[in-house]
C-alpha cells in the first residue's frame, strides 16, 4: 500500500485518499468563448503518459483537501505533491531529479 504525502497532513496510507482525475485540466466555463472541439477535449481527452503524470487527489478520510500530485505511471510511486492552486511543476526537472 502506497504512502501518499498530503500537503496538509503529511505522510498517510493510500487508503485515506481518493483519486480525482488528471490535474491542471481547465474547466470549460460558460463565460469562455471556446469552440466545441476544445470543450470536448477538456471534458473527455486525457494525456495518459508513460512516466510522470499530474493528478488530482483528495485526502478524503483525513483533512478532506484536494491537492495535486506528480506520479510515475511506470513505478506507481508518487514523486511530489502540492496544494491546489499552486503551479504545475516542471516535469523535466523532476525527471532529472528522479534519475539522480
Amino acid at each position: 500500500m502506497l504512502i501518499i504525502r498530503c500537503p496538509i497532513c503529511g505522510d498517510r496510507p493510500e487508503l485515506e485518499f481518493r483519486y480525482g482525475g488528471e490535474g491542471h485540466v481547465a474547466r470549460p466555463a460558460a463565460t469562455e468563448a471556446l469552440d466545441d472541439q476544445t470543450v470536448a477535449d477538456r471534458l473527455y481527452m486525457r494525456t495518459n503518459p508513460k512516466g510522470l503524470t499530474v493528478e488530482r487527489w483528495r485526502h478524503v478520510h483525513g483533512c478532506g483537501r484536494f491537492f495535486n500530485a506528480v506520479r510515475d505511471t511506470v513505478s506507481d510511486f508518487f514523486v511530489t505533491t502540492y496544494k491546489a492552486g499552486e503551479p504545475r511543476p516542471d516535469l523535466d526537472a523532476l525527471k532529472k531529479e528522479a534519475v539522480r
Binding site: 466555463a29 478532506g64 483537501r65 484536494f66 513505478s75
Partner: protein, 1000 residues
C-alpha cells in the same frame, strides 16, 4: 498403528507425548513436534494423493511449504475443514483428522487414472485445443466433467466456525525468515536498539539449522546456537513471530504476514483467533527466505517414495522419520552427499549415489566414499518402477553425447534427488526488485532493489554456512543503519562441521528412452512434463510467460516453487537460447495460500457492512415490514396487514395516502447545509437553477449537473436565511454530491466564502402526505400558520413540532398536499410516533418505499439513477425548465451548448401505457420501433420504471426513448423472451397533470 520407519533416536520430537490422528480413516500415532508428513512417513505411508491431470499416485516430494503433491484436507467437521493444506507444514495435534484429495473412489484405486493411459490425447494446451467445439458443449458437458475430475480439494460446506483477527504494526526493521541468515540479521539489527520484528513460517526458529546435526557455530552445536540466539534476541526486545508466513510484499515496505495461532492445538483456547493477519509497515526489510531444492527431471520421477534429498535428511534429523530402508540418491549437487552421510549415520542403507557430474570432487564426496557408500559419477536415473511406491531405480551411465547406456536396475524403497538449489526470491521479486541471472550459480539472484530491502543468505545466492551468517549479520546492520551499503561483515561466526556446496542441474536429465513414451515431470502439481514444454516450443512459443500459460507449468497453488527453473532449463535447451533471454515468470502474492477468513477478519455476518437504521425502524419491525436495502440503509418496503401480500399492501398504501393521508420515513434523504456570505453565489454555480432571488422561507427543486452536462443529482432545497441553504440529495447520492461540492469550492471557486456540512444524520424526516396532511400535523406544530397563503407549496419554516426544534417543509414527492417534518435525529422516533397517533383520527397509513416509488411514478417524478444513467441531460428527462438560461455560468452550462446535447434523436423521458392494462413491463427491458425485427434488433430505448398503478387501476411505465417526445401517441414494442408487448407513448405524468392536488 506402529511406526516402522521411526528412527530409534534423535529428532526434535517429544517421544513422551504421543498424538493420535487419522488419515483417510486409518489411525496412526505420532509425537509432539511431528508434522502430518513426518508422522505418516514414520508410519511408512508415502501414497498421499492422485495427480491433477493423469491421476498418477503421488507421495511427498519435500519437507516444507514448497510441497506440490501431498495436499490434504484437514478438519474433523465441515465448519473447521481446510482443503489443500500441504502435509509437510501441517503440525500434528491429538485427534487430527486428515484425508487425501483428488481420488475416486479410493486413493489406492482411482478411476481417473485411465487419463494416464490416454495421456497422448491430453497434450500441452489440450484445454485450449479440445474443448472449443461445439460451443454449447462447454457449459453442459466439458466444464462439469473437467471440474468433477480435476478437483483439487473440496470446499467446506459449513460456515467457518473460527475467528480471524487483523493487526497493524510499524517496525524499524523486519527480518523475514529465521534461518541462520535471518537470525544473524536480527542479532545485528537488535544491537542498534531499533524496533525489530523477526517472522518465520515454521513453529520454531532455526530454518535449515534445525536439521543440521553436524555443524557447529561459535563452538556450539547448531541447535544449541539457535536456542541461545533466540534467547538473546528476545532479551533485546526483538518481536519474534513463529508460524508466521510473510506472503506478500506491497509498495512502500508494507508486508502481509499470516500468523497461524491455533491450528496446532487439539483444544485451542476459544479466546484465541485461528489466524492473525499482520499488516506490517517496515522502515527497512531483510529478506532471509533461504533456498528451495530442485528435483531432477528424469523419466518416472514422480512415484511415491521419490523425494528431494535434503527433505529426506530433514525427515531423519529433525523428525526421526526414515523415508525408507534402502535408498538410492540421484544428484548433481554436493548437498545430497550430506543426506547420504546423515542417513547412513542413522543406519539407513544408502545403496548408491548417482551423480550426473562426470567427476564430482570435494570433501563431502570424499567423506561419502570414505563411509563406504558406492558413488557412480556421470550417472543418471533414466527410469523407475513401482506402482504405489518406488521399488527399482534404473541407473544409466551417460554416454556424453546426450544419451545414456543400458540401465542397471537398483532395488530401493526411496529415491532421493537433488538438482541443486534455487534462491527463494519470491518476496524480492514481488517488491519489484530486478533479478540477475548468475552464470556461476546458474540461478536468478536479487540485483537492483526498488524498496528499502536487502536479501541475505540462501535467497541471495550465498550457501556456505559461515558466509550465510556473515551475510545475514551485514544485512541486519545495514538495515539498522538504513543504508543500502553493506558494511564488511563486522562479525564473523566461526563455523565447523560443514562444507561448501556446489553443483546443480537445470532442465531435463539425459536418457536414451523413447521421448514420446516417457513422462519426466517438471511441475508435479499441474502434471506438466518435459515433453509438454518441448511441444510448446515446437508449436512456436518462445517467451516463458507464453509457455507457462500454454502448458500451465508453474501455475498451480505452489506457483512453481520446485519447477520454474527446470522449466526454464528445458525451454532454453529446446530453443537454443540462454536462460536470461527467455525471461522469468512474475512472482505474485501470496507466497503460499492465505485463507479468505484472514482477509475478511471481523467483516463477517452482522459486521460485514455497517447498517444504518431510520428512526422508525422499531415501528416498522413491530408492523412486520420487510426492509429494502438502499445503500447501507434499511428502509421499510411496505407495511403488510395480516393476510396481505406485497401487491395488496402497496395498493392499499397508495390509495390511502391519495384519499386521506399517509406517512413515510424520509430520513435517509441526503442533506447538506450550505452556509456563508457567498452561499447563494455558490448555489448559482453548482445547480442549474437561479438561487439569488429565492426568498428566505422558500424552496426550489434543484438540478445538479456534472461538468459534462449530464444530470448528477436532484433534490428540494430550502433557503433558511440569506446565507443558509438546506440542500437535500438522493438517498445514495449524498457523499458524491458533497464531494462534488467540496471539489468545486476548493479548486474552482476558492474565492467564495462558503462552508459545507453533511447533516444527513442530524435530521430525522417524517413525510406526511395526502389531502388530510395539514389536519394531522396542525395539532403538533407550534406557532405556524399552515394555511396555503402563509405556508404555500415549496416553502419552509423553522418552528417547534411536538416541543422540539424543527424545520418544517411544505413539499411533496407524491403529488399530494404534503409536509416533511425535520427534527433532530434523537427526537425522530418520538415525532414519528406522535404523528402516527395524531393521524389515527384520519386513518393515517404508514407507507414504505415501494408505495413511494409507485406514487412518484404516477406523477412522472424521476429518480436520478433510475430514469437517468449518467448519459441523460436535463432536457432529456424533461427538466429543461429548471435551467437558468439567463445565468452567466454554472457547472455543466458550456457542455449543454454542445450540438450533440440538443440532437433530436436523444433518448427522452416518456410515459408508456401497455395495450393490455394488466401487463406490467420489466424495468430495463429494451424497446424497438417495429414488432417484426431481425436479431440483432435496432433498439430505440429502454424501460426505466414500471408499476401497477393503484390510482389509475392499470399498469404504467416510464421509459427513455429516442426522440420520444416526438413519438407521442405512437405504438412501440418491447420484445420479451416469450412475446412482444405493445405500448403507447404518452406524457410521463399519469395523474393530476395540472398539479392541483399539491395545493389541496
Amino acid at each position: 498403528m506402529s511406526a516402522p520407519f521411526r528412527l530409534a533416536t534423535g529428532g526434535r520430537i517429544d517421544r513422551s507425548k504421543p498424538l493420535r490422528f487419522t488419515f483417510d480413516g486409518a489411525a496412526y500415532t505420532g509425537f509432539e513436534g511431528d508434522t502430518l508428513a513426518s508422522a505418516l512417513i514414520a508410519g511408512g505411508v508415502h501414497l498421499m494423493g492422485r495427480s491433477f491431470k493423469y491421476h498418477r499416485p503421488r507421495g511427498f516430494l519435500t519437507a516444507g511449504p514448497d510441497e506440490p503433491n501431498a495436499l490434504v484436507g484437514v478438519g474433523a467437521s465441515q465448519d473447521r475443514y481446510t482443503p489443500n493444506l500441504r502435509a509437510p507444514v501441517v503440525e500434528l495435534h491429538d485427534g487430527l483428522v486428515a484425508e487425501s484429495q483428488n481420488r475416486w473412489p479410493s486413493l489406492r484405486f482411482d478411476a481417473g487414472a485411465v487419463n494416464d493411459l490416454f495421456s497422448r490425447f491430453l497434450p500441452a494446451g489440450f484445454y485450449y485445443k479440445t474443448f472449443m467445439w461445439p460451443k454449447s458443449f462447454w457449459k453442459t458437458v466439458y466444464e462439469p466433467k473437467i471440474r468433477s475430475m480435476a478437483g483439487l480439494g473440496k470446499a467446506p460446506t459449513a460456515p467457518d466456525a473460527d475467528r480471524y483477527t487483523q493487526v497493524y504494526a510499524h517496525v524499524d526493521v523486519l527480518v523475514v525468515g529465521a534461518g541462520p541468515a535471518g537470525l544473524a540479521a536480527a542479532l545485528a539489527a537488535a544491537e542498534s536498539g531499533r524496533r525489530v520484528m523477526l517472522a518465520d513460517e515454521q513453529p520454531e526458529v532455526g530454518g535449515s539449522l534445525l536439521h543440521d546435526v553436524t555443524a557447529t557455530i561459535e563452538g556450539r552445536p547448531a541447535a544449541a546456537w539457535v536456542a541461545e540466539t533466540l534467547a538473546a534476541l528476545e532479551a533485546k526486545g526483538v518481536q519474534v513471530l513463529t508460524r508466521t508466513t510473510a506472503f506478500g510484499y506491497y509498495p512502500h515496505n508494507m508486508l502481509g504476514l499470516l500468523e497461524r495461532v491455533t491450528d496446532h492445538y487439539a483444544n485451542p483456547d476459544p479466546k484465541l483467533p485461528r489466524e492473525r493477519l499482520w499488516q506490517v509497515r517496515a522502515g527497512e526489510v531483510v529478506l532471509a527466505t533461504g533456498a528451495i531444492e530442485r528435483p531432477l527431471v528424469f523419466p518416472e520421477n514422480d512415484r511415491p517414495g521419490i523425494l528431494l534429498a535434503d527433505a529426506a535428511r530433514a525427515y531423519a534429523n529433525r523428525w526421526a522419520a526414515s523415508v525408507g530402508k534402502r535408498v538410492v540418491i540421484a544428484t548433481a549437487c554436493d548437498s545430497a552427499y550430506r543426506t547420504a552421510l546423515d542417513l547412513k549415520a542413522h543406519g539407513i542403507d544408502v545403496a548408491v549415489v548417482a551423480d550426473l557430474r562426470p567427476m564430482p570432487i570435494g570433501p563431502l564426496v570424499d567423506a561419502v566414499r570414505a563411509a563406504g557408500i558406492r558413488v557412480e559419477a556421470g550417472t543418471a536415473v533414466t527410469g523407475t518402477r513401482g506402482r504405489l511406491r518406488v521399488r527399482v531405480a534404473h541407473l544409466s551411465r551417460l554416454d556424453g553425447r546426450g544419451g545414456a547406456h543400458a540401465p542397471e536396475p537398483v532395488a530401493c524403497d526411496a529415491l532421493l534427488m537433488s538438482g541443486g538449489w534455487t534462491p527463494t526470491v519470491h518476496l524480492f521479486s514481488q517488491s519489484r526488485g530486478k533479478l540477475r541471472f548468475d552464470e556461476g550459480l546458474q540461478a536468478y539472484v536479487p540485483s537492483v532493489s526498488v524498496e528499502k530491502e536487502r536479501s541475505a543468505g540462501g535467497c541471495n545466492g550465498v550457501f556456505d554456512l559461515a558466509a550465510v551468517l556473515a551475510d545475514g549479520y551485514a544485512a541486519g546492520e545495514s538495515a539498522a543503519r538504513a543504508t543500502r551499503v553493506r558494511a564488511p561483515a563486522s562479525r564473523a561466526f566461526p563455523v565447523d562441521g560443514t562444507h561448501p556446496v556446489t553443483g546443480g542441474h537445470l532442465g531435463a536429465v539425459p536418457h536414451s528412452r523413447n521421448p514420446s513414451a516417457v513422462k519426466a515431470f517438471v511441475d508435479f502439481q499441474n502434471d506438466v512434463t518435459a515433453k509438454d514444454l518441448k511441444l510448446a516450443t515446437r508449436e512456436g512459443l518462445r517467451s516463458i510467460e507464453h509457455v507457462k500459460r500454454y502448458t500451465t507449468t508453474g501455475m498451480a497453488t505452489d506457483q512453481g516453487k520446485t519447477s520454474n527453473m527446470n522449466a526454464l532449463g528445458i525451454v532454453s535447451e529446446a530453443i537454443k537460447a540462454p536462460i536470461p533471454q527467455i525471461g522469468l515468470t512474475t512472482f505474485r502474492a501470496p507466497y503460499t495460500p492465505v485463507t479468505f477468513g484472514s482477509f475478511a477478519g471481523a467483516s463477517r455476518g452482522d459486521l460485514f457492512d455497517p447498517v444504518r437504521k431510520t428512526p422508525s425502524h422499531s415501528f416498522a419491525v413491530e408492523k412486520g415490514a420487510p426492509f429494502e436495502n438502499v445503500g447501507q440503509w434499511k428502509r421499510a418496503w411496505w407495511y403488510p396487514r395480516p393476510g396481505e401480500d406485497q401487491h395488496a399492501a402497496v395498493r392499499r398504501e397508495v390509495k390511502a395516502m391519495r384519499s386521506s393521508v399517509g406517512m413515510f420515513d424520509a430520513s435517509t434523504l441526503g442533506k447538506i447545509e450550505v452556509v456563508g456570505p457567498d452561499a447563494a453565489a455558490f448555489m448559482e454555480m453548482l445547480y442549474t437553477n437561479a438561487w439569488a432571488k429565492l426568498g428566505v422561507g422558500r424552496c426550489r427543486y434543484g438540478v445538479m449537473l456534472r461538468e459534462d452536462g449530464f444530470v448528477m443529482d436532484d433534490g428540494v432545497i430550502g433557503r433558511l436565511a440569506a446565507d443558509r441553504f438546506h440542500v437535500t440529495t438522493t438517498t445514495g447520492g449524498a457523499p458524491r454530491v458533497l464531494n462534488h461540492m467540496e471539489d468545486y469550492l476548493q479548486t474552482e471557486f476558492p474565492h467564495l466564502a462558503v462552508w459545507l456540512t453533511s447533516i444527513t444524520e442530524q435530521w430525522a424526516v417524517t413525510a406526511v402526505q395526502g389531502p388530510k396532511a395539514r389536519d394531522v400535523i396542525a395539532a403538533l406544530v407550534e406557532g405556524v400558520d399552515l394555511s396555503d397563503a402563509a405556508l404555500p407549496h415549496m416553502s419552509v419554516v423553522e418552528c417547534r413540532v411536538c416541543g422540539v426544534p424543527a424545520r418544517l417543509f411544505r413539499v411533496s414527492f407524491t403529488g399530494e398536499l404534503g409536509y416533511e417534518i425535520n427534527v433532530p435525529a434523537d427526537h425522530g422516533a418520538a415525532v414519528w410516533q406522535a404523528v402516527y397517533e395524531a393521524g389515527q383520527a384520519y386513518g393515517i397509513t404508514p407507507y414504505g418505499t415501494e408505495a413511494m416509488h409507485v406514487a412518484r411514478a404516477e406523477k412522472g417524478y424521476i429518480i436520478v439513477g433510475q430514469e437517468t444513467d449518467g448519459t441523460a441531460g436535463p432536457d432529456d428527462v424533461g427538466l429543461g425548465w429548471a435551467i437558468g438560461k439567463a445565468k452567466p455560468d454554472f457547472v455543466g452550462k458550456r457542455a449543454l451548448a454542445r450540438p450533440a446535447m440538443g440532437a433530436a434523436d436523444r433518448k427522452q423521458l416518456v410515459g408508456l401505457l401497455t395495450e393490455d392494462p394488466a401487463t406490467v413491463l420489466e424495468e430495463g427491458a429494451q424497446i424497438v420501433a417495429d414488432p417484426v425485427f431481425e436479431v440483432p434488433a435496432r433498439m430505440i430505448g429502454h424501460v426505466t420504471s414500471a408499476y401497477e398503478s393503484p390510482t389509475l387501476d392499470r399498469s404504467i411505465a416510464l421509459a427513455m426513448v429516442k426522440g420520444g417526445r416526438a413519438r407521442m401517441g405512437e405504438t412501440i414494442y418491447i420484445p420479451m423472451p416469450d412475446r412482444v408487448i405493445a405500448a403507447k407513448v404518452v406524457a410521463p405524468v399519469f395523474y393530476d397533470q395540472e398539479g392541483a392536488r399539491l395545493n389541496g
